[in-house]
Amino acid sequence: MAAPVSGMAGSTSTGNATSFQKKPRRKLVSIPGTRPSVQNGQLLVSSGVSSLDYVIGGGLAVGTLLLVEEDRYDSYSHMLLRYFLAEGVVCGHELFLASARDHPDEIVQELPSPIVDDVAGMKISEGQSQPSDPENPDTMKIAWRYQNQPRYILFLSCSFSPLPVPYHALLKSIQTVIRKEGFDGSTPQSKVRNVLRLGLHSLGSVLWGDDVCCKDNPAHCHALTTFLYALRGLLRTSLSVAMVTVPSHLIQNRAVMGRIIRLSDTAIALESFRGSEKETNPLYKDYHGLLHVRQLPRLNCLSCEVPDTKDLAFKLKRKQFTIESRWFPSMAV
């Protein structure tokens, strides 16, 4: 992977008295949009919201799965998904987006544009929702919607699988993309390494053919958990990051929700105040909702990032999403 740069072979010939030679520095292949973690050297990507990165330990580790429990009307979780994808566009990562409700092209049209900080005095554009034109259309992998798949794919994957057809087809599609584009390291050396961002919207909802959200004893109670297990296995073997949103407020069975959280690496839950009595509570007047960090991963190390506080709230001001400690908003989280 890293080709060591040849050391200063000429140092002895310059007439230096010392025989010290500079250690050959290994040139690390750096992938755009990633940085190593301070804690354990993991490769991290940004989730698109800097305060969320801070809360989950610096960013999302490549090869892991972020689970977002949707708020009641899927407004803020949808926004987080769009921030995640927009960050991918800005960093030049490849995107894979799957949605059973909205057409992925529509989601892609409404990605927030980046906040530009220009010292020359230009007006700071606060990320208004304009249709974003990706500079290089080739960097966007096709958005996938299972209903538009040609029939023969559905036919091949039907029998003897514990997964219902939509999940099976989605998993197969993700695996194909990873293999074809070489995110699992099977490419020839000429291609530049890049990260694949997977955005999977509202898994577990009825639109995916799953009944875990609508029944107490669903027939497919293991479908979503099996899918997440297999997805994490795929992520571990490739340079990809996934953000999955799940309408957890619809899942009646708390045990299933507990399993879903344990099957992901990082898990957060959004609770919006809209429509609840907390909206008029003076304690929460500055905020739009609460953010719960359900789980933080322990990757390649014994201990994990332990947060200072668990009382976090978020607010959306002019399209900028910030997360703060509920009690001491002026102090760093």
Partner: protein, 271 residues
């Protein structure tokens, strides 16, 4: 390996009980640090270890064990460690590409209703193959480590099938081969209204009656604390003729190279 835990449990790599079934469980906490402890403990003791890594990749365990002073890659090469890469290989099995003999242990991914016989055969086969190394080295008593067993419930395997599997493993590993077994089970929150018929609580209760030593990890009952990561209850259970039934609770804190255990209320943050 955590020295403080060794002194609590009164065992060292040089002298530990054999035919031991140790159950590690947690509720709303993460007890996987104890699995790392046992992995490095038994490798140091020179035992032949069969590790079923169902939730993390080999590189994760390898990186942690490196910090604890044990090299998993070397142990695997020498034949001391047999590692089942459950997480990464399950995708191929699920999408039905890999139907070769090698993926028989993971057949439960494809057909969860059929039970865990393939997995048991894998364990049995790797444990009976002792002394087959190139150097003819004979390892100590065999050890089976499972991380973690409750993920099988998420894949649709029934509690009965899992309990059958553990019973077979115990009969082979502990009774027949005089080896040890360490299993991690992650439990749900106890719900008073919901009688969990097919859940991890049922599995944990079934296993706790089979085991000799039960380590249960939970968060602090008083709430979240940055300096004390949780409490661990040690339950010494029946052992041969003697029935101990002794329980003790310790607080612990996990850090980069190990974990420290202390009696309740004696954390350095408090004193």
């Amino acid at each position: 390996m955590f020295p403080e835990l060794n002194s609590i449990l009164n065992s060292t790599p040089d002298s530990f009980k054999s035919s031991d079934f140790i159950l590690v469980s947690d509720r709303r906490a993460d007890a996987s640090f104890l699995i790392h402890h046992y992995l490095s403990f038994y490798l140091r003791a020179g035992c032949k270890v069969c590790f079923l890594g169902l939730v993390q990749s080999f590189s994760h365990y390898s990186a942690v064990s490196q910090r604890l002073g044990v090299s998993l890659a070397q142990a695997r090469e020498k034949g001391q460690l047999v590692f089942l890469e459950g997480l990464k290989d399950s995708v191929g099995v699920l999408l039905q590409e890999d139907t070769s003999q090698e993926t028989q242990p993971l057949s439960y991914v494809r057909s969860p209703g059929a039970g865990l016989e393939g997995l048991f055969r894998f364990v049995e086969c790797s444990m009976r193959q002792s002394g087959d190394g190139d150097a003819g080295e004979s390892w100590g008593p065999p050890v089976l480590l499972i991380d973690d067993l409750s993920v099988l419930l998420s894949l649709g395997v029934s509690v009965g099938a899992i309990l059958d599997f553990t019973l077979y493993c115990q009969a082979t590993m502990c009774s027949e081969l005089q080896g040890n077994m360490v299993i991690l089970v992650r439990c749900e929150e106890e719900d008073a209204d919901d009688v969990d018929e097919e859940g991890s609580n049922l599995l944990q209760r079934g296993l706790v009656h089979q085991c000799n030593l039960a380590l249960h990890v939970e968060g602090l009952p008083t709430g979240y604390c940055r300096d004390i990561h949780g409490q661990m209850e040690v339950w010494w259970r029946q052992r041969g003729e003697n029935i101990y039934n002794q329980r003790k609770i310790f607080h612990f804190k996990v850090h980069d190279k190990g974990a420290s255990f202390f009696a309740r209320g004696t954390s350095s943050a408090v004193l």
